[in-house]
């Protein structure tokens, strides 16, 4: 509070503190990255004999052939784009469906009891077993790919939303009861606002899962416009290790970005009042 008085003199000091904070956050993972790259070079040049070096080409080889080669880069970027679209669409549908299911389940115990086991099935079903079936039903295009994402991303959204909707303070429920609030008012003014931190937790988890779903679906459907899954399959069949590793890195980046986006959104939306998200704010900024 007190540093608000002389803002101008403190601004540079605060800028310094900010960049120091940034370094504190950025340096440890950067060191880990450096260690991994060194280990990678070590394995490539000291563990593998020259004729087996194609199993793990050196990092600069990956950059040269996977990223600096315009054709390959365009191919991977195209795959990245298509996979991101599928994952995004799948996540959006999973959210709409999962949140609606949680909302309905939070309104009556018997609905919760009827739907909950199926939500669990959704999480435990071996998705690979369903992939051929989805292909038969919906073809090998966008629809099947998105469906895989929805199935994978649905459960964390349902379970987090439901826990949040049911977790509102019972005394606040009493307060609404005393003022004759109906179901809708209760949901809109108490349950949904109270559930927001957990809804964002669910979205963040499902964002990463949806990316995995998009890649897995693409990999096994294996037809149509290539996404990252098809590219991974294609490069590994052709023993193109450099391109394969570049595609793997692109897939990882997509997952990280998806996770990060919902982290930022969650902090923006509820970080000013929810202690767990407020803690995130201190951790990451």
């Amino acid at each position: 509070m007190s540093d608000r008085t002389d803002e101008t003199t403190n601004a540079s000091g605060r800028g310094l503190a900010r960049s120091r904070e940034l370094l504190r956050v950025a340096i440890p993972p950067a060191l880990v990255a450096l260690a991994i790259i060194l280990l990678w070079y070590g394995i490539t040049f000291f563990v593998l004999e020259p004729d087996r070096r194609f199993l793990l080409p050196p990092p600069h080889g990956v950059i040269q052939e996977g990223i600096l080669d315009g054709d390959v880069l365009a191919e991977i970027m195209g795959g990245l784009y298509r996979t991101a679209m599928v994952a995004g669409l799948g996540l959006a549908i999973a959210f709409a469906l999962g949140f609606s299911m949680a909302l309905v389940m939070s309104q009556a115990k018997w609905i919760e009891r009827s739907l909950y086991p199926w939500a669990v099935v959704c999480q435990t079903v071996p998705i690979l077993a369903l992939v051929p079936l989805l292909g038969f039903w919906f073809g090998f295009g966008l629809m099947s790919r998105v469906t895989v994402c929805v199935i994978i991303a649905l459960f964390p959204i349902i379970i987090n939303s439901l826990t949040g909707l049911q977790g509102a303070d019972p005394r606040l429920h009493d307060l609404l009861t005393l003022h004759n609030a109906g179901r809708w008012i209760r949901a809109l003014k108490l349950q949904i606002p109270a559930a927001r931190p957990l809804i964002f937790t669910g979205l963040r988890t499902s964002a990463g899962l949806s990316v995995i779903g998009a890649i897995v679906g693409d990999f096994f459907f294996g037809r149509g416009q290539p996404g990252l899954g098809i590219l991974l399959d294609r490069y590994s069949r052709r023993l193109r290790s450099e391109e394969l590793l570049a595609a793997v890195i692109a897939a990882c980046l997509l997952g990280v970005v998806a996770f990060w986006i919902f982290g930022v959104l969650g902090r923006r939306a509820v970080g000013h009042w929810d202690p767990s998200w407020a803690g995130e704010r201190n951790k990451n900024e």
Partner: protein, 242 residues
């Protein structure tokens, strides 16, 4: 004057457990009734019956007004709303216009000394400030009856004494009807015009004291010999009831 609330032969059982012996209790406007008793004796049950949150097993609870303010053990604020938004919340539920709700919020926030904090979130407030916000919230609709469920139990002694004084001042000015449940004999005597002692389960009213001090009261009366004698009598009755 008609009572604001009247319990007539009220009993309450939860399954096979009797929580209350037949209860007779009337509270009129301008009466501040403190209720003390051992833990688990059914004091909170009396409040929940009084508010209509639960129905009696037998007997009747009649109120002259449905405008009841309920203050919980914890501040029970909505953490996603600012102080002011928490205070205007019941106005939203009861259909006050936005301007009217804000005007009243202004008034009750100044009564509890929190105007400056109206835009703060509860996360940033001390326990005492949260409780003041909770009281301000319950005052927005100017209830005829206040039900207090050990509201200051979680506060430190200094905050507690200050909130006792503030609540006493509010009562002196507005003269609503109040039923105040507490574990603290000192607090019960300081606030009450009438004090009831409840026995352990099933709860039964075993002693009643008229507290002779005029309102408004000064915090200093706590240290007068008369006050100590009264508190001693209450404590003795409470010990016997436990």
């Amino acid at each position: 004057m008609d009572p604001v609330i009247a319990f007539t032969d009220v009993t309450k059982s939860f399954g096979s457990i009797d929580a209350l012996d037949p209860l007779h209790l009337t509270i009129r406007k301008g009466e501040f009734v403190s209720l003390v008793g051992p833990s688990g004796c059914g004091k909170s049950t009396v409040l929940r019956l009084g508010s209509g949150l639960i129905e009696p097993t037998d007997g009747t609870v009649s109120r002259s007004s449905d405008n009841v303010g309920y203050i919980f053990q914890e501040p029970t604020l909505m953490p996603w709303r600012t102080v002011e938004q928490n205070v205007t919340f019941l106005g939203e539920l009861d259909g006050l216009s936005r301007q009217e709700a804000r005007r009243r919020a202004d008034e009750v926030l100044s009564l509890v000394g929190l105007q400056e904090f109206r835009n703060h979130y509860p996360l940033a407030l001390s326990g005492g400030m949260k409780m003041r916000t909770s009281i301000a919230r319950s005052m927005l609709l100017d209830p005829d009856l206040f039900l207090f469920d050990e509201p200051f139990g979680a506060l430190d002694q200094i905050s507690r004494a200050r909130l006792n004084a503030e609540l006493c001042a509010l009562f002196s000015e507005r003269r609503f009807a109040a039923l105040f449940v507490t574990h603290s004999v000192d607090e019960a005597v300081f606030l009450a015009s009438r004090l009831l002692v409840m026995s352990k389960r099933p709860g039964r009213l075993v002693a009643e004291f008229e507290i002779p001090y005029e309102f408004p009261r000064q915090p200093g009366i706590r240290y007068e010999p008369e006050f100590a004698v009264l508190a001693g009598q209450v404590a003795a009755a409470l010990a016997e009831a436990s």
